[in-house]
Amino acid sequence: MAPHGAGGRGNNLDGLDSRITEMLNTHSASFSPAQEQGMAEVYAQLKDIAHRQRLKVSKHGLNTTALANEAWLKYSDRPRDFNDRKHFFAYCAVAMRHILYNLARHNRLATMVDVDQELQRLPVYEQSEFLVDMERHLVALEAYSPRLEKVFTYRFFGEMEMAEIAEVLGVSERTALRDWKKARAMLSAALGG
């Protein structure tokens, strides 16, 4: 087996946090620079909560909404850069997307380095392929329509309610729902074809 550490820094999970921050900083999200700065903190927060919740949740049933909720409760104790729950949730959704993307890239790299058929059939690697593809198409979708990309990210990665998404983006709920359908159909078409 080839050493998985061969890819250098990029394979090291310990460096994930800083890279996420970096990536989020370059992401054209509608957050203030201060909020973006706090992204790494949110990520750490999510991880910490998930860690504590882990023994309570069964199998893979990790509930991202519950994660964000708990993170928010913790945040709301000491007012920071987020003035409301909805914006914080949106923020978490973006964080989630990048956490997963980064991990998926790492996983995929591992399977490329290590041509182990057995390994590539594992769901975790199939899903990693999926997430990497998804990210590529999300970037394209953003070029096509930034709002579609945001609606999708908030809904899919943050599991936010339509009403909350509409409010964050300043559109009607009906528009948000239509955008979600569009984005879902478009990404389905992209991933399926």
Binding site: L13, L62, T64, L122, V124, A140, A185, S188, G193
Partner: protein
């Protein structure tokens, strides 16, 4: 991409004009075939999600990225379990990472935890999941890296394999080894239950492995401040453990006893440990669990620790004793033997079986040492090399077979199988593979002799599989041919005893073809495998009444042996030639002229005498005796009672000498009893009733001895009953009516329960019918008489008896 962009535009427009439709409808209407994206992240990417928020933490927790988490296997109250693999590229190994629940305080607790863990990590045992790594995580949570056991859980294994009592007892016995191992090191598992035992299945050998030392470790770590905090599992934990009292090794034995009880009862009871003890034992009895095994369970599961076994070793010894007892009940499961050992002068088949056990060298006494010494000697030599070990096992087998103590080798064979199963075939070179195959073959031979056919066939299968790996190596072609034909011939014996007609034939034909190739390519190679394959084919076809095919192979065998006597000479080939004539004699007896049969047997005897030469080798002596028995049988059938009696006189003399040379050999003892009984008959036929009675009584005395040593054996019981009836019949004839009736009653009482267990066995029917007829129990005997007449077992003496008792003779 522009194609995709076009699709996106169409989707965009379609939903703009009608936003009531769903995303899937939209795709369908536009004729875009695509699987609709999952709405939930958990469905679409749950594994990665788990990895991010679980796996990542595992890695962080255990400090470093030496292991890569593949997936979560389990999570519950006690711990979280992940499947992972070494990720540092040192070697390819799948492991299990376990995060234990609970927090440990630094300092003393931590030290203790690490010490216990280190203890287990330092002392690998095949029956204990190996701890590869471990420590305390960032949050003081203990974590362990364990070897990955690729096998089913205990319950699943028992169910899949449909294990019988012996299979279950064997698994539990193996568990005792692991338990004794940890107990000696001061660790109590405290949570023995089916869920914590997995069955490792390496190269077809099943071995139970104790997993989950979570409680043991916790107990060790918390003993100082929270005694009694560890309760174990309901139904399995010992009473003192539930009460929070101090526990020792005997608590594990309680749990192990429950595990065995639960396994015996299977799904019929949900949790056998929660039944009242009487109810539990009653259910075990009703389920048909043998009494001894129930006693073992009872002793494990006593309320008071002092009433249980003192140690896992003591329990193991008992289980071993139970397991070893059964194989001593020779012939019980082999129809061939049942037929052979049963009524009257059925010495033929028994003799053939005895011959099959015979090997090469001379008689010796020094190997009658006890199992322990043997084991030690063997263990020490094992390290001197596979070759030496294989030679020893083979040699010991031959020697022990002569004195009837193959049971001494059982442990050695089982150990060697365990040892072999731990070998990684990929690390072996070709000579080592060949030796592995030899070792499997030797072990198989031991199992076969102990009538553990399944284990024997498994071992032979392993040997064949390993040989297949060197099949294409020209350099080892000769060794391969020799070894493969040997395995096949041995395998055919086991299959024949299991009554597997087609497989036996196929295996023998392959053996003959390989042995033929061997001598063709290597003129200096031994012709013995070829001879043996031909001879066995001959016997096989005779057994299934294919006289022509049998004759052909037997003549081929004789030709080989005869030629080799000329070319090479030596005792071995003389014996082989004698065996060939002997087989041909039976062929003539069944398919040709009886006089030819006697002539052939004469030749066998003459050659056997030559083989005996000056010295009295135990094997040649036994061979000679068997031939005499058979000669007497044939002569009796041909009405030459004087000749038969003369042969029997010599057979009895020879038998007594053999008995003195190998007092432990049950087979010889039995054979001598048959000789006496047959000799009694021949004397009776000659009209010498005094000699006849004397011989019958000698036979009866030996049969009593065998039956006493072999309680529970149907065959031994029937042999004894037959001798009782013989003595009784003659005693009655000589006027001792009262004495005779006591003997008939004894015979009937002995054989009736046996017959009730196997009501269709014609030999048991015959014995019981004679006893009942003599006792005048006409009503009871009627259906038996009908059955005997239908099966053709009714011979002249039987019909005489019927007439005497006023029955109608067909």
């Amino acid at each position: 991409m522009s194609d995709l962009l076009d699709k996106w535009r169409r989707i965009d427009a379609a939903l703009d004009s009608d936003d009531e439709q769903g995303a899937d409808e939209c795709l369908e209407r536009l004729g875009i075939t695509a699987r609709l994206l999952d709405e939930s992240l958990d469905t679409a990417a749950g594994e990665v999600l788990g990895q991010a928020f679980g796996g990542d933490n595992v890695t962080a927790e255990i400090g470093g990225s030496r292991y890569r988490v593949l997936r979560r296997i389990d999570s519950g109250g006690q711990s979280e379990v992940f499947l992972a693999e070494r990720a540092d590229g040192v070697y390819n190994r799948t492991v299990v990472i376990k995060l234990l629940a609970g927090h440990y305080h630094r300092g003393l607790m931590q030290e203790q935890f690490l010490r216990e863990m280190q203890l287990l990590a330092d002392l690998p045992h095949p029956g204990i999941v190996q701890i590869l790594d471990g420590g305390l995580g960032a949050a003081e949570r203990p974590w362990l890296v364990l070897e990955y056991i690729d096998g089913p859980h205990f319950t699943a294994y028992c169910r899949e394999q449909q294990l019988d009592w012996r299979g279950l007892a064997r698994l539990v016995r193996d568990l005792c080894e692991a338990l004794q191992f940890i107990h000696l090191r001061g660790v109590v598992h405290m949570d023995i239950k089916p869920g914590n035992v997995m069955v490792r299945d390496i190269n077809g050998t099943a071995y139970p492995v104790l997993i989950d030392f979570g409680i043991a470790l916790q107990a060790a770590s918390t003993a100082d401040d929270t005694p009694g905090a560890v309760f174990g599992s309901r139904g399995y934990a010992a009473p003192e453990q539930l009460a929070g009292e101090p526990v020792d090794a005997r608590a594990d034995l309680y749990s192990l006893g429950m595990l065995l009880a639960q396994a015996c009862l299977g799904d019929s009871v949900e949790n056998v440990g929660q039944l009242p003890p009487e109810e539990r034992m009653a259910r075990l009895r009703r389920a048909g669990v043998p009494r001894d095994l129930r006693d073992v369970i009872g002793k494990c599961t006593r309320e008071k620790p002092a009433a249980r076994y003192a140690s896992a070793a003591a329990l193991r010894t008992d289980l071993d004793a139970w397991l070893n007892d059964l194989p001593l009940a020779v012939g019980r499961h082999r129809p061939f033997h049942v037929a052979a050992k049963a009524l009257r002068r059925h010495t033929l088949a028994a003799s053939i079986a005895a011959l099959a056990l015979a090997g090469t060298a001379w008689a010796t006494w020094k190997y009658t040492a006890d199992v322990g010494a043997l084991q030690q000697a063997t263990q020490a030599e094992k390290h001197a090399g596979d070759r030496l070990f294989n030679f020893m096992l083979g040699d010991l087998f031959d020697r022990l077979a002569r004195i009837g103590r193959i049971d001494l080798l059982q442990l050695v064979a089982e150990r060697s199988i365990e040892h072999l199963a731990r070998q990684d075939p990929r690390t072996l070179d070709d000579p080592a593979r060949l030796q592995s195959a030899v070792a499997y073959t030797n072990a198989g031979r031991v199992f076969d002799a102990l009538e553990e056919s399944t284990a024997a066939l498994d071992a032979y299968q392993q040997a064949r599989a390993i040989l297949a790996q060197v099949e294409d190596r020209e350099a080892h072609r000769r060794a391969l041919l020799e070894q493969r034909s040997r395995v096949l011939i041995l395998e055919s014996e086991t299959r024949a005893s299991e009554g597997q007609r087609e497989q036996t034939e196929a295996v023998l034909l392959e053996a003959a073809s390989l042995a033929g190739e061997l001598v063709e390519r290597h003129p200096d190679a031994s012709r013995e495998p070829l001879w043996e394959a031909q001879l066995q084919l001959g016997w096989h076809y005779m057994e299934y009444d294919q006289g022509d095919a049998a004759g052909e192979h037997l003549r081929a065998a004789l030709a080989i042996a005869g030629e080799m006597v000329e070319v090479e000479g030596g005792t071995r080939w003389l014996l082989d030639e004698s065996h060939s004539w002997q087989a041909l004699a039976w062929h003539a007896f069944d398919y040709g002229e009886p006089r030819d049969a006697l002539t052939a047997l004469e030749r066998a005897l003459v050659i056997a005498r030559r083989a005996r030469g000056a010295g009295d080798d135990i094997e040649t002596l036994d061979n000679h005796r068997i031939l005499l028995n058979q000669q007497a049988y044939m002569l009796t059938q041909l009405g030459d009672y004087a000749g038969a009696d003369a042969a029997m006189v010599t057979a009895i003399e020879t038998g007594e000498r053999l008995q003195a040379m190998a007092p432990q050999n049950r087979e010889y003892q039995r054979e001598l009893a048959y000789s006496f009984t047959t000799g009694g008959e021949t004397a009776e036929r000659r009209g010498d009733d005094a000699t006849a009675l004397q011989r019958y009584r000698r036979g009866l005395a030996i049969s009593r001895e065998i039956a006493a040593a072999d309680a529970g054996s149907f065959t031994a019981a029937n042999d004894l009953a037959v001798d009782l009836v013989s003595v009784a019949n003659l005693t009655a004839k000589l006027g001792g009516r009262e004495r005779a009736e006591a003997l008939w009653r004894e015979a009937a009482a002995l054989i009736e329960p046996v017959w009730r267990q196997e009501p269709d066995n014609k030999y048991y029917q015959y014995t019981l019918a004679v006893a009942w007829l003599q006792l005048g129990r006409h009503e009871e005997v009627r259906p038996l008489v009908a059955a005997i007449q239908a099966s053709g077992m009714a011979d002249q003496p039987f019909n005489d008896l019927l007439v005497q008792q006023g029955f109608e003779v067909k």
